[in-house]
């Protein structure tokens, strides 16, 4: 055990923060910023799903709430984005608490919980698509006002560093959580809820705390998404794509680990980007979608040969390098 437990996080974050100084291509910066947004959403999922064992299929509900709140607070109420962001996160946390209260109190677990979250995300999507306040099917457009005070950065590096700051904070938070009493309770609930309850763990309270925290973190991803693209509609905010990204990244990276979502998001999106560019150069775009096929195959291989995620695979290799001692 290291005596400075936050050292690895600090190293990774500093490393990521220095990246834009070397790689100045806008494509890379764009990719990095988007990867950080997905990392945030995935980290939110990881706290509930990875540590708490409550697999949500509808994290879009938190992402979308954050995204819409961020956009609507600015467009409809003229609130500055720096103020809108904590409000949107609080709203995400509130939605998390509400969904958690309704489903955990009804003792929904496993696939039932997954289905309920999926249903909530769909209900939110359809409502946002129909309701005039959210712009209906036409969506909301945040006016382009470049300036740090509007959280719209002329320099893409600033946007990336802002997202990275959030990622750093959640990495530290997740790490602290994994070593805290609450974290231990959460893992206990994941491993065996009855046993945990028999030992005096208030399973409902633990799960509620986890989903509330998870909602806030994933909502922050939605906020940053809004500021990056400045346009939202119901399918972007509450669509299944983000639910899938949020759960794929930790699964690929390593479930219930601090770095899993980050590794997963970078590998997943990086792989997509590399196959896209490679095949665009190779075929000249003659066969559209061939990169997606390759991406899918790589994903299957990844899941088949690294069931504990990329981090698990790396640990296995490291262990073998050091020489397995009895």
């Amino acid at each position: 055990m290291s005596r400075q437990p936050y050292m690895p996080i600090a190293l990774v974050v500093v490393g990521l923060a220095l990246l834009p100084l070397g790689l100045t291509s806008n494509t890379v910066l764009n990719f990095l910023a988007f990867a950080m947004i997905i990392t945030l959403a995935a980290q939110g999922w990881n706290i509930l799903g990875g540590y708490g064992g409550q697999f949500s299929f509808g994290h879009a509900v938190f992402f979308g709430t954050g995204a819409y709140a961020m956009a609507l607070l600015q467009v409809r109420f003229g609130i500055n984005p720096w103020l809108a962001l904590p409000l949107a996160m609080a709203l995400g946390a509130g939605v998390g608490f509400a969904i958690g209260y309704l489903s955990f109190r009804a003792r929904l677990r496993g696939s039932y919980f997954a289905l309920v979250t999926l249903a909530f995300a769909e209900v939110f999507r359809i409502s946002a698509n129909a309701w005039g306040f959210t712009g209906g099917a036409a969506g909301v457009l945040v006016p382009l006002r470049i300036g740090a005070e509007h959280m719209q950065f002329a320099d893409k590096r600033l946007a990336y560093w802002l997202a990275l700051t959030f990622v750093a904070a959640t990495l530290a938070l997740t790490h602290a959580l994994s070593r805290s009493r609450f974290g231990a309770h959460l893992v206990a609930v994941r491993e065996n809820e009855e046993a945990a309850r028999a030992l005096g763990v208030d399973a409902l309270a633990v799960k509620l705390k986890a989903i509330t925290l998870s909602g806030a973190i994933t909502a922050s991803a939605g906020c940053l998404y809004t500021q990056k693209f400045l346009y939202l509609d119901a399918n972007l905010a509450y669509g299944p794509w983000i639910s899938v990204e949020a759960l794929l990244a930790p699964i690929i990276g390593g479930l219930g680990t601090v770095f899993g979502p980050l590794v997963g998001a970078v590998v997943l999106l990086g792989l997509g980007e590399v196959t896209k560019t490679a095949f665009a150069n190779l075929t000249g775009g003659a066969i559209p979608g061939v990169d997606l096929v390759v991406f899918g195959v790589l994903l299957i291989l990844c899941v088949a040969y690294a069931p504990r995620g990329v981090l698990g695979l790396a640990q296995g290799w490291l262990g073998r390098l050091k020489g397995a001692r009895p």
């Binding site: 806008n26 764009n30 209906g136 457009l141 400045l230 346009y231 972007l236 980007e273 559209p288 979608g289």
Partner: protein, 401 residues
Amino acid sequence: MTSINRRTILRGAAATGALIAAPGLVRAQAPAIKIGILQPVTGALAQDGEYGRLGAEIALNEINAAGGIKSMGGARLQMVFGDARSNPEGGTSEVERMQGEGVAAIVGGFASPIVLASSQAASRYDIPYICDVGVSDQIVGRGLKNTFRFGPGFGNVTSTAIENLVKLNDAAGKAAKTVVIVHEDGLFGAGMAKLLQTQLPPRGFEILETIAHPTPSRDMSNVALRIRALNPDLVIPSSYYAEFVLLSRTMQQQRIRPKGIYAILNGAASNFRFVKEFPDAANLVMDCNHWADPRKPKTAQVKALAEQGGRFWLYNTPLNYSCVLLLADAIERAGSADRGKITEALAASTFSDHIMPYGPTKFVNGQNMGAAPVNTQVQNGDIKVIFPSEFADAKAVFPAV
């Protein structure tokens, strides 16, 4: 027995090398100008994206074959293609890549969300952006100096559609009184339904019901059965390709025959694929949509080129073809690949050598003021123009039964 030895391989490699290098030698006169062509060629909108790209390709080939940009010493236009993957992120990331490759301008986008996000991304680098289809009125209402839309917007299309519907109905002695609206629940379908609900009743139509359906939908029987139960004179659908094809086939199977099917901005009713694959279901369906001008001689040439290799004639192709020509004209007048100069030239554009029924371009806040939709009707395996009457090549068949 012959075996492949080192010499054979070397000879082959030399020949291949020469082949690859040869066009480069011919082209080496003036530096090429890179043009970004952005289309969704994977995902839900892949068909539209493919036909959009086709139009852009035809235009680029034509310009290059005619000697490139003359004011720049015959500089060729080189396509930098980007797959927008049917979503705004895909579009934005391709804009970033195009910026990295140094494109002079970007044409395309197709769907409104993609256009909204990618034109905004392009505006950060002052890349001129010509929207090909996206009809959302927000696209040109944001004050982005780099964004131009050659085609008509949503408000324009729907008001024209309603106007022409009234004319059509009056000419038929007010044959249609009751209406059922079927629409997809996305941006354009939902917006249109809302507009029709307020605009049609004052014009003497009774709306029996408005039926929304999501995209994608894989079964339209319930919608068809509802239409049968309501028995309206007129069905007004606004959906994407697959859903409308499904609906019209189901209606045909169920023998539901209203007096007319009057589509607005419909994915299928102005699409020769639908007409060729389901001639009976398609017959006499009307649409108000983008359509190439049948009077212009170049329309037939582009159509012939587009239909090579068993492809179909869709509005995406002439729109993108025209947008690329419009851009080439602006570059020609700017005499430079400088983005600011191209934007200025576009804003001052009075280009008329396109194949859409618009007249010379005139941009106000990025919107081409002359742009207008056309009413078409499928008649015996062909798509005919029925409105505006100045260049209609057929008379509307209404009521159909």
